[in-house]
Symmetry: C2
Subunit: 403 residues, 2 copies
């Protein structure tokens, strides 16, 4: 056993502030709200400096003081994190921005940022002695949790809508997960998982019903701070479905402030949604702190097709507290943004990532983003996982005519 | 302009040892053999230590003294390199090996190790003032060169067999490459490119007709050395089609020896091929230093379906000089190896990578690999790029019955 030097203290309800232990299984608060991990940041402030992290291997585990795993032996890793932060000079020039960046979560095991949540979530599940996890999923999260479960020797029960992408279904299957397809929506899958948990003694790994996934996603915020040499950007854009990424980034920055590694100014956080599924945008525009179910949602960006997120109020808090905003883009804007971004810069984002580029265009145009501001688009995965979204006609060469 | 501190000296023929300049365009030697990059290793030995690299960002550019780009401003990067080197404890145990590792080149831009060759090749092309590159490809290389070309602002002409995977064709198209499909084999595509070069003034980026791709792939060897704290493994297995990877790794280790960063002992290099396309295995078993064209080749591992490689003699040199070997595995062994590896360890290799696992099994069984030896499998890409190779039946849940 090697101590990971985590400063974890316990869990606290994100609404009523009731506290829970972290060394036993906990999911939602009795009031129904998600639990968040608390650290002893006063102690951390005394021990943790920027140099604590800088010499360590380039994975998210370099931040282990601010992660929930206590024993290093429980860390389940496929080498995730410290993804590239790339300047986009040509695309920036095209948009009139001199400091545009993309953080590319396609360069990570399983090909999406879901790997971060799965790595930390499964590691903590291992530390808690969990034997079987269960979750509903639209695809990428299920794939990531299945693969990390395989590595940990934990059984995974995955329930997916039959419409979930085949590429992610195959990952679950290859990982040896118990996978079930449902002729219904992810909300139906969630109900099935919910009813099966107690009967079977499974560990609920559903979004925000499992408190440690946020901690994994948080590391995106820690990395952005360190990769910019602790000088935060002015704006961070994030494609927002369940919203765990934006909640995690905001939590990370708050924690860095409390231990004194960054100053007071926070980036404006922007939640980007598809117009076909924009509950957060609707709430933001109405000045509300909670969203309403968005009926008949539909978008090519499958990963952000979440009509009502459990943590919507946390997303809206993060937006309002940082003077950020929520913005919607159309599927047409997503697809044309994708083409423009790939052919200009050689990055290969998922549609959710391309939505950010479309959003930056709009926000620059209406003056909300200024020309010199440092802007980061958080691309959540590789376009390789969406083989059917983008394709085209190819010219054939007539061999006889050419040779 | 920032000097990259490269120790590049020039180019030398791999057969007749004739030398060429590196500050002008050069492809094959007049004798027809590939050119290799030479460095001033005596000077490098005086200046380069292990610490030169250790504090730098985790990308292949940390080794810039041993790379061909002279001006930092010419570096075209998507954040490639320093991929995870993961212990496989459970799979090792199953096979009776206590030190089995996988280096996972799936965690890299474009999803395959081809990104390394493209990053270094395109950077050097930019340094040489190239405006248009052209190449035949079976898929992954074309995708990588297209995307890095887009980032560099260089035009890419890509000629592919119509049987090349759709997922890679789409990458080329999205990158804005001029892509042509041919009703024929990669050898037909090569002929078309060859005839078009002079007429159009294009830069030939074909495998081994372009001397800098090897330098990019070489960094896999440099990383293995550094990631093992300069204590080399006993065996490195590599899926071998064109063979540039194994040639590059061998070149890297020789260079590290010459500048004194590693000792005399080299790992035994193993070229793994599919039984359906095994020209190197056939040559190795006959004790020959060159291979013969392997007719009617066929394998699920599309990336190593290369019936006759231009650099075959360099691959066989690397094998014989390190007391390594070549070994073939069947498609059935590849597929069952894949399933076993994914479900045991959570890694998600391409079929070429899975072939290594099948090979390790055989080599351990027949005693060529010993139980305590440190063994590295170099997985060349993510399984996500092969959505049709592995799939299965999924059980459906009857919603009415469950809820």
């Amino acid at each position: 056993m090697g101590a990971a030097n985590s400063f974890i203290k316990g869990l606290v309800c994100s609404k009523c502030k009731k506290t829970y232990r972290e060394d036993e299984e906990n999911h939602l608060c009795t009031c129904g709200a998600p639990l968040l991990v608390e650290y002893d940041l006063k102690q951390a402030a005394k021990k943790v400096t920027r140099e604590t992290f800088s010499g360590r291997p380039a994975s998210l585990w370099r931040y282990r003081e601010l992660l929930p795993v206590k024993d290093e032996d429980n860390i389940v890793t496929l080498g995730e994190g410290f993804t590239p932060l790339l300047p986009l000079r040509k695309a920036g020039e095209r948009l009139g921005l001199s400091n545009l960046y993309i953080k590319d979560e396609g360069v990570i095991p399983t090909g999406t940022f879901k790997a971060r949540g799965a790595a930390v979530g499964i590691s903590k599940a291992k530390e808690l002695g969990v034997r079987t996890i269960a979750m509903p999923t639209n695809g990428n999260a299920g794939a990531a949790w299945s693969l990390y479960s395989a590595r940990a020797g934990i059984r995974a029960v995955i329930v997916m809508p039959e419409g979930a992408p085949e590429i992610t279904r195959n990952e679950c299957l290859a990982a040896g997960a118990d996978i079930y397809l449902v002729k219904g929506l992810i909300s139906d899958c969630g109900k099935i998982v919910g009813r099966s948990l107690a009967k079977n003694g499974w560990y609920d790994a559903s979004t925000l019903k499992e408190p440690y996934r946020i901690e994994g996603k948080k590391t995106m915020g820690l990395e952005i701070a360190e990769q910019f040499n602790w000088e935060l950007p002015d704006v961070i854009l994030y494609p927002t479905g369940g919203g765990v990424g934006i909640i995690g980034i905001c939590k990370a920055l708050r924690e860095l402030q409390e231990i004194g590694l960054i100053g007071e100014k926070l980036p404006r956080l922007v939640a980007v949604q598809a117009e076909g599924c924009a509950p957060i945008v609707k709430a933001f525009e109405a000045g509300k702190r909670e969203s309403e179910f968005f009926p008949d949602s539909k978008t090519v960006a499958f990963g952000i097709n979440v009509p009502k997120a459990l943590g919507d109020f946390l997303v809206l808090d993060a937006i309002f507290e940082t003077d950020g905003r929520a913005i919607g883009v159309s599927d047409e804007e997503i697809l044309s943004g994708w083409r423009e971004l790939v052919s200009t810069e050689g990055v290969y984002p998922c549609p959710e990532g391309a939505a950010l580029y479309a959003a930056v265009k709009k926000l620059k145009k209406d003056g909300w983003i200024l020309p010199q501001e440092k802007v980061v688009m958080l691309n959540t995965g590789t376009g390789l996982k969406y083989p059917n979204v983008f394709s085209g006609e190819f010219p054939y060469l007539n061999l006889e005519a050419v040779l």
